[in-house]
Amino acid sequence: MKSSKFIWIALFWMGLIGKQSQSDPLFFELPIQIKESFEKSKIGELMEEGFIAPISIELISNSGKPLFYESNVKTTVCDDEICEIMYIKLYWDLVGEYVGYDSIAKHPLTKFDHEPFTKSDYGRLHELLKNDGSILKFKQKSQLIDKERVKASDVVDGTTGATLLEIKEEVVEGALYSSYTLWHLAYNGSIKNMIRANTESMLDEQLISHLLDSDRSGYKLFAFHNFKENDFIKYKQYWLKSLKEDMPLTRKYILKNIPEKLWFNYKVQDQVCGLFGFYDVNTRTYLLSKLEETNDVSILSLEYVSKSLVEMNSNQTSQFLELLKGSEKLTERTKNNIMKASENKGFKYSYLIDEYNFLN
């Protein structure tokens, strides 16, 4: 909702010839109102083929609190013969994910035939830059054009008819090379590494809390990656919340890194296993494997997992039944859950329980 508001504001300010004055960026996905009073500090430079001069990556902070990163880019966009200069400002969040862009006053984005970007072109460019799986990732610059279809009279970036169909669907029409150049800048590995290293160097209690409180999944994963052992105790409620709600990649990371002294606490096992019903298929398998490797599993944890037995797939069912077989004691509720699963006609793997002959 917030981002759509920003997009609306952006569209309002955006004319056919781009921005006229300093204001909110055209596109900016973070819930931050950019102010003149924000501090800027340069964290590094990058020079790559096509740049007119090295570009600076700057950290934007408010009263010392890091907010995001930006860079004013001045780069050439070239085909084999023609080059033009493109001016643009790119934004990344604190962990190096692209979050928006802005045009530079008096330098609206143009296509190769010098036509200015339309309103929808600006929007389409942002959509393209948000897509980390864009087909542009897989292409060399030389693969962008179907050379057999280029006519001598065509202006290069305007030869949309010759742009390979699969690429054409994603890029800004008539701005093939600009789209390509900007996508590879937005996802430039060196910039991302530079940003992450800088954020990591600033990590303190306040910033960790800020990252954990954010609704950006990348922020939380970054925070967990930088946990010291005691942080798992200190921020227990945060990682438990992430286990319940966050992306599978984060869940797996947490489960893998829970310190042993926490994990061997029955109460922690019970809390983690109590969330089993919220987990995706891969996290479930990972947790079952973790339980397999744990010598001392709480019988209450097994009971919690047994509630979800009917939602397990074939291998998980076998894995869990194997786990139960190795457990010295089971609660009555666990036995009851197995019995119910065995009798549940909607449970497609109930026959595995029968094969285990578990209830006898």
Partner: protein
């Protein structure tokens, strides 16, 4: 021990009961006329046998038919080994019936989760000619492994090991194959790598057996899977041009044209003995050497023992090495195992701790616009996978890897999951506008695998060999293709369908693969060529494509020639004859000999 005795007594009692009954076992894959059913031998190692499948893409297929001689009249109980491949609170998708001598048995089959013997009914049968028909009801991948007739009402065993023992007795099969054949080199797997091996070795005069479990050559590049070949030719342009494909979109029927070319080229070598529709099922060893490989015809059931001094594992899944006891790898190594970090991609590229998130398998598919509107049936059993996803064609991104699924052991479940994704996504698309005339043109029923077992060689090729652009004295394969490693989209966003993947590209200049990655470190006479060569998970990311694996094949074929010349094992080509070997590899660029015609 006591359990073994008890188990033996139980099994003996079981077989005794059968021995006093009249019984007949008919393997479905050996039907005289499969009609519209297809023979599926992909999962023999997991469920015990090739089977017939009604792959009608939603349209019931023509009946399969066979005839056999019943020795004695009697009242026969009839069981059918089948499986409900999408169990749940809906009608099973793969339903079918059996008719005996034109009389359809009332029981609907394909209803039980997991492979099992479903009771089809009882019939009074006279001795003599007995006809069986399989009648597909849905066109949605009903499957029949075998049909069993017995005058005694006792279902055959369900468990895999008991079933295998029972099957051998029922079919009166000896423990070893009836026929033995000898060759200079036995190549198992007729993908691009296996074909390239066979050609390279045959051109230098070796008598080669090329064993392949499908009717057509090419593996992932065949018309049955339809992935285009990528990569460069390296030293072997001439050989690989006989085998590769144009750069058509994956799934295109243009694959047929290249397949014809491939067959014509392989078949013109009279010293390549082609065994299509033969699936290897064991490798026999003496010490750390393979003495022979046993294979079975996928529909006729005949068996051959292939004897040779050297063998090539181009099976993709590394089966020959696995059976022979070769060291192998599976899964993603931890980032520190070989130091393969790609910093900005973290866990998605290489995990802190080793896991089984290998690159997944794909099932490609296509639709076509017909002249008139075509309905597509409701597929409630597909909704749990497809959810609201809509699609009218498949791409390489239709791929499945999950922590609970092994790419070999669970390959059937992976294939079936992808079928649900395809049927469900297409059904969703059909509900929208503009899709009225769309219908399926083709869905592969073969799993197109990217990664599974990798056999360990004297050298393990890793990402570092790419980043360092390391050259070796035995560099026999070269490549410029990006290192391209996949991950499932739903790892980053749980709302994404679990059957779609994403790729991470590491762009690179030229890199090289040494010959030492192409033979086993502990099975003395075993080469490998193809995606099961010796590499790390990340190492596989670049050279897993088929022109590169073809280069491996050609390099192995030529190494086999050196081995034959000196009577040596693969390792000694590197230690004792490298100069001669590399000269022969180099000469491939200028090799103009026209191979002999049949």
């Amino acid at each position: 021990m006591i359990y073994r005795i008890f188990g033996f007594l139980l099994l003996s009692n079981f077989f005794l009961q059968f021995s006093i009954s009249q019984t007949v076992l008919i393997e479905a894959e050996s039907f005289d006329d499969p009609g519209g059913w297809v023979v599926d031998p992909q999962f023999v190692e997991q469920m015990g046998s090739p089977y017939l499948m009604a792959h009608g893409m939603g349209n019931p297929v023509d009946d399969a038919h066979t005839k056999f001689q019943l020795q004695e009249s009697g009242d026969y109980h009839i069981w059918v080994r089948s499986k409900n491949w999408a169990p749940g609170d809906w009608e099973a998708p793969g339903r079918f019936q059996v008719a005996i001598n034109g009389q359809t048995l009332p029981e609907t089959l394909g209803l039980t989760p997991g492979w099992s013997w479903e009771y089809a009914g009882k019939m009074k049968l006279d001795d003599g000619d007995t006809n069986i028909d399989l009648i597909d009801q849905t066109g949605f991948n009903g499957r029949c492994d075998a049909i069993f007739f017995s005058t005694h009402k006792e279902a055959p065993p369900r468990g895999n090991s008991e079933l295998a023992a029972w099957r051998m007795i029922e079919s009166k099969e000896a423990s070893s194959p009836e026929e033995s054949l000898e060759f200079d080199l036995v190549v198992v797997g007729g993908g691009i790598a296996g074909c390239a091996t066979a050609i390279a070795a045959a051109e230098q005069g070796l008598k080669v057996a090329l064993i392949h479990d499908r009717p057509v050559l090419g593996g992932n590049a065949s018309s049955e899977i339809r992935v285009h070949t990528l990569g460069i030719y390296g030293h072997f342009e001439r050989i690989l041009k006989m085998l590769d494909t144009e750069h058509y979109p994956n799934g295109s029927p243009e694959a047929y044209k290249d397949e014809i070319k491939r067959h014509q080229n392989v078949e013109k070598y009279e010293n390549i003995h082609l065994f299509t529709n033969w699936r290897a099922y064991d490798a026999n060893t003496e010490g750390s050497r393979i003495t022979s490989v046993d294979a079975r015809h996928t529909s006729e059931g005949k068996r051959i023992r292939f004897i040779a001094p050297r063998f090539v594992d181009s099976t993709g899944d590394g089966w020959i090495g696995y059976w022979a006891g070769a060291d192998f790898m599976y899964g993603r190594e931890s980032v520190d195992t070989y130091g393969e970090a790609y910093e900005e991609w973290g866990e998605l590229w290489s995990p802190e701790e080793a896991d089984d998130f290998v690159m997944g398998s794909s099932v490609l598919w296509r639709t076509v616009k017909g002249q008139a509107a075509v309905d597509f049936p409701m597929v409630p059993w597909a909704e749990e996978v497809a959810e609201s996803h809509e699609a009218t064609e498949g791409t390489w991104k239709w791929e499945l890897s999950r922590l609970d699924l092994h790419q070999i052991d669970d390959a059937e479940e992976i294939r079936d999951h992808m079928l649900k994704a395809i049927y469900g996504s297409f059904a969703n698309a059909k509900k929208g506008e503009g899709t009225e005339n769309l219908k399926f043109e083709w869905i592969s029923y073969l799993v197109g695998k990217r990664e599974s077992r990798r056999l360990e060689g004297d050298y393990i090729f890793t990402f570092n060999d790419v980043t360092d652009q390391r050259k070796f004295p035995d560099s026999v394969v070269m490549e410029i293709r990006e290192v391209d490693v996949h991950y499932q989209q739903n790892l980053k966003d749980e709302d994404k369908p679990d059957f779609l993947s994403e790729a991470i590209f590491y762009k690179t200049p030229q890199y090289y693969i040494p010959y030492r990655s192409l033979y086993s470190k502990n099975i003395e006479n075993l080469f490998m060529a193809g995606r099961n060569f010796s590499c790390s998970h990340i190492g596989l990311g670049g050279p897993r494509v088929m022109r590169t694996t073809g280069q491996m094949g050609a390099a192995v074929g030529i190494a086999a020639v050196i081995c034959e010349k000196y009577g040596i094992d693969p390792r000694e080509v590197y230690t004792d004859h490298l100069e001669e070997y590399m000269a022969l590899i180099e000469s491939q660029k200028n090799y103009n000999t026209i191979p002999p015609k049949k």
